[in-house]
Symmetry: C2
Subunit: 196 residues, 2 copies
DNA sequence: CACATTCTGGACCGTATGTTCAAAACGGCG
DNA sequence: CGCCGTTTTGAACATACGGTCCAGAATGTG
């Protein structure tokens, strides 16, 4: 019934994400979104309500991706948990994309003025924190981290470092410096293990 | 010669900073800046050229402040360097101001589209990194940190953690969690000292 | 006091913005 | 085929925006 849509909503969301990620929310006009997605303004409004609705959809999808990433990092042998953490930090450290992560950029720009964005961001961070704690607990069970250490705090250190590396990357700090930071953080977490 | 200015430029810059910090660059209109500073648009344009000029001035001043903070953190007994670092992180961790730091917010919003902002931000981070490394070196000389450790990397850990705590704060992560992260990071850095 | 110079407030301008709308286009269904 | 509900399109709209302009106010100088 009715005329079918000519576009794939997920593709549109991805295209819009790219645009928002590059120029932010207030820095992006609906015309630019229209160009980036290939949809006319009318279709955009028909599908997403308004500019904020589109952003919310983009942001929600992105956060769902970070939730998923946190879960996937928990999969694998427990004695490699720290290696997975290291890989995660190193990947962030290596990135030279100045646009960076939409969660960081969106939170920085909108959290203080948009409660929905703030709430979604907070939920994303809660999930990330839980995932990081899980990684530490795996490493503790595998004897790679002092079992007496505060897993929540060390997990927080992991997440904080990842967010910090993201910030440094956006500011153009040299990737080799960031890699050294990533390694030093993981080494510090591992150094608390009983045998070392 | 000529009519004297009725306003104090520094006060105007501070007021404009508050506004930019709250609503970002693209999210702030010149009318809002006019209201926030108490200056009419004509005076604002006369004094700062245009909106971007005002932002640049605000951003430069803010970065000069962070430069100064980095330097002041180096002052004091070397065997208390790590305590000063801890205080710095704890202060960031405790902050409940959702607007956060203008260096972080400005870099996130504008670094990828405004070379001048990107350059100033990069310089600020370079200075911060050097200051953090200095703190670690002081702690090393005082025997509080393993003298064989890479001071640049550990300094980087310090800065990265501070930036990450800032990001977590903006996302509304509980201050007690952030405090535990700050302490765990400092403890990790201190744990590498030879005697402990 | 008159002049030159600078600053102030706010009206004004052209444009870009977010949003709406009516009509045309389309495909499923009887 | 013709109807119906939906989507598409692009023009149109009101407003908000960044920026300009100028008449007048305020000062130091001769």
């Amino acid at each position: 019934m009715g005329r079918p849509r000519k576009f794939d909503e997920r593709e549109v969301v991805v295209a819009a994400r790219r645009q928002f990620n590059e120029t932010g929310f207030h820095g992006t006009s609906v015309d630019e979104l229209s160009r980036a997605t290939g949809l006319s303004k009318g279709s955009l409004y028909g599908a997403f309500g308004d500019k904020e609705g589109l952003f919310r959809r983009v942001f929600d999808d992105y956060c769902a991706g970070t939730d998923e990433g946190a879960a996937s990092r928990l999969e694998g042998p427990e004695d490699e948990a720290l290696d997975r953490a290291r890989d995660w930090l190193r990947t962030t450290a290596r990135s030279t994309d100045p646009r960076g992560c939409l969660l960081a950029k969106g939170t920085a720009e909108l959290a203080s003025e948009n409660p929905a964005v703030a709430a979604r961001a907070n939920a994303a961070y809660t999930t990330l924190l839980a995932g990081c704690r899980g990684l530490i607990e795996q490493a503790q069970r595998a004897g790679r981290v002092d079992p007496g250490a505060d897993a929540a705090a060390l997990g927080g250190v992991l997440l904080t470092t990842q967010r910090g590396l993201e910030a440094l990357g956006r500011a153009g700090v040299d990737p080799s410096v960031r890699l050294a930071i990533a390694d030093a953080t993981i080494d510090g977490i591992a150094a608390s293990r009983p045998s070392g």
